[in-house]
């Protein structure tokens, strides 16, 4: 299951072609990546484990965004809202209801599915910039809605909610960071596996058909509005589960962690990873988490500016994201091989 999510490095090393077929290379790299993923938490410090866990969580959220944008051609700058809903669902359930953390994931997913579907309904009439605007507004309004005083009893208002990090079950001899890493890896592996299958399925083809030409898709019998709002819902589900995972892993939620900046991070991760590429989202997750840190280590005062410059450079070098760059390299090497 983790196989599909590790496939980010596939095309990169398949470029070495050397006698093996593309699929054989893919399998080889998948196994190698899986081994690395399993060995990682025993090789590095706890803080790095935590960061990689977060990067995987971001990757899942970006995957959700990618299902919407890359495979259905809809656009969202408001996914921080769904991430927030997922995170708050998990936090409130654990804080108020004393419910085990793993039960919060399906509930968060379900709530986000419904919310996303409902937000997708008005979004049906919107295209391109207009959808961007509506979702932009949603992202801006989210922190205010979370601070809304009549629901403060649940959400903890400005203070947010602190939850307790779960320990490893069955007396496993690993610490909580390591356990949460594996937990995240398993959940996200499952989610990636579902996404790959969804995209390949009949439903997935309908989604892509709508992206490429809604009129043609409609005339071939695809229910355009149903599929569009459903995709919005599924996309929100992914991002919501990522949010719930994020809440469990960080052990803390507060309105100001879910500002427009989070939407931007996810969106940037999507574009940098490659729109419409599932392995690309993993690169996107890593970029979304580590690029701001790198910028900060270059210059504290000018971190934002450095980050911006990194972004511009990345777009110059790979206008269609990491996936696009890899595709380009592979096709060049393949041509030379012939």
């Amino acid at each position: 299951m983790e196989a599909s999510q590790a496939s980010v490095r596939v095309p990169a090393s398949s470029s070495a072609v050397g006698g093996l077929s593309f699929n054989a290379w893919r399998r080889l790299v998948l196994v190698a990546a899986l081994l690395v993923a399993l060995a990682l938490p025993f090789a590095v410090k706890n803080f790095l484990i935590f960061q990689v866990t977060l990067a995987i969580i971001y990757a899942v959220a970006i995957l959700g965004l990618n299902l919407l944008t890359g495979f259905n051609g809809q656009f969202s700058l408001g996914h921080s809202a769904f991430y927030a809903i997922g995170a708050y669902t998990a936090a409130v359930m654990m804080d108020q209801g004393d419910i085990a953390y793993y039960w919060t994931l399906p509930v968060a997913g379900l709530i986000c599915l419904v919310t996303g579907f409902l937000f997708g309904l008005p979004a049906l009439r919107l295209e391109g910039v207009y959808l961007a605007l509506a979702t932009f507004a949603l992202a801006i309004a989210t922190p205010q809605l979370l601070k809304f005083s009549p629901i403060e009893h649940w959400t903890g208002g400005v203070q947010g909610i602190v939850i307790i990090k779960p320990d490893a079950p069955f007396g496993l001899p690993i610490n909580s960071d390591q356990w949460l890493y594996f937990f995240t890896l398993i959940v996200s592996g499952l989610l990636y596996w579902c996404a790959v299958n969804l995209v390949k399925s009949r439903t997935g083809r309908a989604m892509t058909a709508i992206r490429d030409n809604p009129v043609a898709a409609g005339s071939m019998g695809v229910n355009v509005s149903l599929y569009k709002s459903l995709t919005f819902g599924v996309s929100a589900l992914y991002t919501g589960i990522a949010g719930a995972l994020g809440a469990i892993v960080t052990g803390f939620v507060a309105p100001d962690s879910f500002t427009f900046a989070l939407s931007i991070q996810l969106f940037v991760g999507l574009v940098v990873g490659g729109v419409g590429s599932i392995p690309g989202t993993l690169f996107g997750g890593l970029f979304a988490l580590f690029a701001p840190n790198i910028a900060e280590s270059v210059s504290k005062g000018l971190a934002g500016a450095v980050y911006g410059v990194i972004l511009v450079l990345v777009i110059y070098v790979m206008p269609s994201g990491a996936a696009g760059l890899v595709r380009l390299i592979v096709s060049k090497l393949a041509r030379r091989e012939r």
């Binding site: 507004a137 969106f267 000018l302």
Partner: protein, 294 residues
């Protein structure tokens, strides 16, 4: 219902609406020129305002600083288009938006680094007395409304009655035909950026006395500017101004008369407005509906 309070709120709304109208105007200008929404618009305006503040801090009189700032912003806008956006002209739309975000981040961070994050007060050229002694609306508010209406009139004249204005409209409407007719489309886009930056600068300098000057002053205002542009229709500069004033009035009236909206859910009003208008009339009140051939 308290009619005097309502009247007061409507007038105050018109005043803040002037701000939104200016920003919406700048948004619509760039949208006309390049078919994108510029998410860095607010930051560009903020940076221009800081330039004006710096000039005045060095002792330049207000109106000199005003004109110099507009000129600098115009050149800055053209430069951004030429340097940053021209090389990625053919990149996918989403990549463009990432570059807007990058620009946002760069400008915001630079401003914070140069002028730090403390709040600065900004002078008004109109004085702070109340207008006509009525106590309902301040002179600065009146000035703001006048300037945004004046700006709109100038833009109207520019686009309807000058050759350059005509060329810009042609370049936006049909780039290929325009190029065949001898219009340098690339420069028209750059000119659009320059004008939007200049309008943004005016808006920033007018808003700064009200909201105070600091690097993050623009985010909420930009949202309202977008809301105004959507209400009026992204294709109509006149609509943007009307939209700005109506958003200002709605914000103030709703904030006063509906519980919670005033303090806690101010930005949510913009969200509701955008969604509501887009649902009822996606092209805005004054925009034209785009019909595309399939």
């Amino acid at each position: 219902m308290n009619w005097e309070l309502l009247l007061h709120q409507v007038l105050a709304g018109l005043a803040t609406g002037g701000i939104y109208a200016c920003i919406a105007l700048a948004v619509v200008m760039i949208y006309q020129a390049i078919d994108h929404l510029n998410f860095a618009q607010g930051e560009m305006a903020m940076f221009s305002t800081f330039i004006a503040w710096q000039l005045m801090d060095w002792g330049t009189p207000y109106w000199v600083a005003f004109v110099v700032t507009i000129a600098v912003s115009f050149i800055g806008g053209v430069a951004i288009e030429r340097i940053v956006f021209k090389p990625i002209h053919d990149a996918p739309v989403l990549s463009h938006i990432v570059v807007f975000i990058a620009l946002f981040s760069i400008i915001n961070s630079l401003a914070g680094w140069i002028w730090d994050y403390t709040i600065k007060s900004f002078p008004t050229p109109f004085g702070s007395r109340s207008l006509l002694g009525s106590g309902l609306i301040s002179a600065h508010d009146g000035g703001m409304i006048t300037v945004s209406l004046g700006l709109l009139a100038l833009l109207y004249l520019f686009f309807r009655h000058t050759r350059v204005g005509l060329a810009m409209r042609a370049a936006a409407a049909n780039p290929e035909s325009a190029r065949l007719a001898g219009i340098r489309v690339g420069w028209m886009i750059a000119l659009g950026w320059g004008m939007a930056a200049a309008i943004g600068a005016v808006a920033g300098m007018l808003i700064a006395p009200v909201v105070f000057l600091e690097p993050n002053m623009m985010l909420g205002i930009l949202l309202y500017g977008f809301a105004a542009a959507v209400v009026g229709g992204l294709t109509s500069p006149g609509g943007a101004v009307v939209g700005g004033f109506s958003v200002g009035v709605i914000e103030n009236v709703a904030g006063t008369f509906i519980p919670y909206f005033g303090r806690e859910l101010k930005l949510t009003i913009a969200l509701l407005l955008i969604v509501a208008v887009l649902l009822v009339k996606p092209s805005g009140l004054f925009g034209r509906a785009v019909v595309s051939r399939v």
